[in-house]
């Protein structure tokens, strides 16, 4: 029982980290970035290449891969979103152009890394098991949860306390008002993409380490889960995404253990469905007052 909760927290921390970046872009731009899962996948491959081919330590490769994820996010914003900004239907066209970018990214990964499952070398991370009460966790799992929580805390602080955070929040509130007040809107949006994709990339590296299997389609399953998480948490709400990420992780683990793997996604999406009926804004979603 305790062990299963731990398994759920572990899985949930990756979902939450993925979804926080996903929901950040949604909160700022009102646009779903469907290439988020591809950034997740590419960053995992970047870390893999740095560790396996360049023989770097994981502790060097991880931050580099996270920055690479962020840079891919900036490229993504320039190619898929900025040219469309200001058009009447930029929400839908942005959604579709991000889907196109996801396909392009997957094709690139397919060309470079092949369709098969790639793995980190055996000795990438020390194999140590730690007892917590009656449950066990590997050192890797604890590090993954810790890294996720720290990154999410950093993002929250950054948004709440720094000048950049204030600018991003101002753009989220109203791009026009922000521009009148002297905020460089394009730069703020690009930075939001950088942060979002860096976190998505971090989630990808951690996922790759945790389950030690990376393939060009690895992001797809997580994408659906991430979508469920941000809807459940309330579109655009960062604390909501964190809570929903952990909740879905725990729900998924108990579903698989009690009902079988065939129900893995059934229960998660049933919960999503019920929450949407009872509370269409999601758990911590904002009232839509500012839109009116």
């Amino acid at each position: 029982m305790g062990q299963q909760v731990l398994n759920g927290i572990f899985l949930g921390s990756i979902y939450a980290l993925f979804a926080v970046g996903y929901t950040l872009v949604f909160g700022v731009l009102d646009i779903l970035n469907l290439a988020h899962q591809a950034v997740f996948m590419l960053a995992a491959f970047v870390a893999l290449a740095l560790v396996a081919d360049a023989h770097l330590s994981l502790w060097v490769a991880l931050p580099l891969a996270v920055v690479a994820g962020g840079l891919i996010g900036i490229v993504l914003e320039r190619l898929a979103f900025r040219p469309l900004r200001g058009r009447a239907d930029s929400n839908i066209s942005g959604l579709i152009s991000s889907l196109a970018m996801a396909t392009v990214f997957e094709a690139i990964a397919l060309q470079i890394f092949g369709p098969d499952i790639s793995r980190f070398p055996q000795d990438t991370f020390p194999d140590r098991v730690i007892q917590i009460g009656g449950a066990t966790a590997s050192l890797l799992q604890i590090c993954i949860v810790a890294i996720s929580v720290v990154l999410m805390a950093v993002l929250t602080l950054l948004l709440a306390r720094t000048r950049l955070g204030r600018q991003i929040r101002a753009v989220a509130e109203s791009p026009r008002a922000a521009r009148i007040l002297g905020v460089n809107v394009d730069r703020a949006i690009a930075m939001a993409f950088f942060l979002s994709s860096a976190l998505g990339g971090a989630a990808g590296v951690l996922f790759g380490l945790a389950f030690n299997s990376i393939s060009p389609d690895v992001g797809r399953g997580v994408e659906l889960k991430g979508l469920a998480v941000i809807i459940l948490g309330g579109m655009g709400s960062i604390p909501g995404a964190v809570i929903a990420g952990f909740a879905l992780g725990v729900i998924e683990v108990f579903t698989v253990a009690q009902l079988g793997s065939s129900f893995r996604d059934v229960v998660s999406f049933a919960v999503l469905f019920l929450v949407l009926i009872a509370r269409p804004r999601g758990l911590l979603g904002r009232a839509a007052a500012r839109e009116a």
């Binding site: 779903l32 890797l140 893995r264 839509a288 839109e291």
Partner: protein, 387 residues
Amino acid sequence: MSVARRWSIPLLLLLIAAGCKDQGAQAPASGTSGSTAAPAGGAGATIGAALSLTGPAASYGALQRAGIQAALEEVNAGGGAKLNVLIEDDSSTKEQGITVFQKFINRDKVSAIIGPTLSNTASAADPLAQQAKVPVLGISNTAPTGITDIGNYIWRDSLTEAQVIPGAFKKAQEKLKFKSAGVLYGNDDVFTKAGYDVMQKALADLGVKVVGTQTFAKPDRDYNAQLTALVSAKPDVLVVSALADNAAAIVTQARQRGWTGAMLGGNGFNSPAFIKNAGAAAEGVMVGTSWNSLSQDAANQKFLAAMKKTGVNPDQFSAQAYTGVIILAEAVKQAGGKTGREDINAGLAKVKDLDTPLGKFSFTQGRDARHEPSVQQVKDGKFQIVQ
């Protein structure tokens, strides 16, 4: 207008689209991997080989290709019938398997087909060949039912799980003296599901109590939930029916969960890729096998020498693939050198006590393989035969 409402329809469409997308798009379409290992001209039989060179079963396909090429060199260097093999990738999927079979049957007009790698693919593609009366020789299909029962043109040289597992488990129990087991199997694949059915029966016949049963799906990466549930039931052994990629991850995560006990695997574990990917976690895992690597028979020694030339480490899958080519060459010989589809099918029925790396080989009445199985265990990073 509320955010939720504005987005509800695109989101719904998206969920549906994303759900569908996953089904068929796992591997790139491939039709360009055709390669031949023998001169195309001259009198000889053209054989199509549908192998999983990409996708979840790619680790087997590569070994099978090496086995086929090693055997071809030998057959074509001999004085008997010349064979020409076209190799195509079935991407480990039913859909691509069907496409490849159609190409072999209608466009390449092959005399016989070798493959496909997975039972799952065979269950979908073999009926096409049966209908067109093209003999198929499976070289790795081990699902007990649903392969050779398709019809009288479907043969295989691979022992079924039902032929290997009971003997392997009995031998393992003699060594390990286990009384209870926790079982984990893939329930979305014909082969792993069929393997589970056989394992369940074998365990019951040995009087082993099953204290827990859990399932997973091929695309899954996280098995912690299932393994935690199984380990908490405190079985003496873990029994796993999975393909090599899943198997490596399952064994690794089981060791991370603190499982130090023994593990028994199905045929999916029979791959060097399993040991390579699971690393130290694979130590001690026991698997039934249809190929005894230590056999001193002349046919096996010849196979080992031929594989050495290809630079690929031999395993059960390459041995069975190699044997497949040898059997087809024998079938052509039995048919008096004729290479028509009917001739080869009739020739296959006459193959008896043929010397192969697998041992003395014959077909059963039901066109399944008949020869002696063995048990092997991972020791120092290698499969070693348990005597």
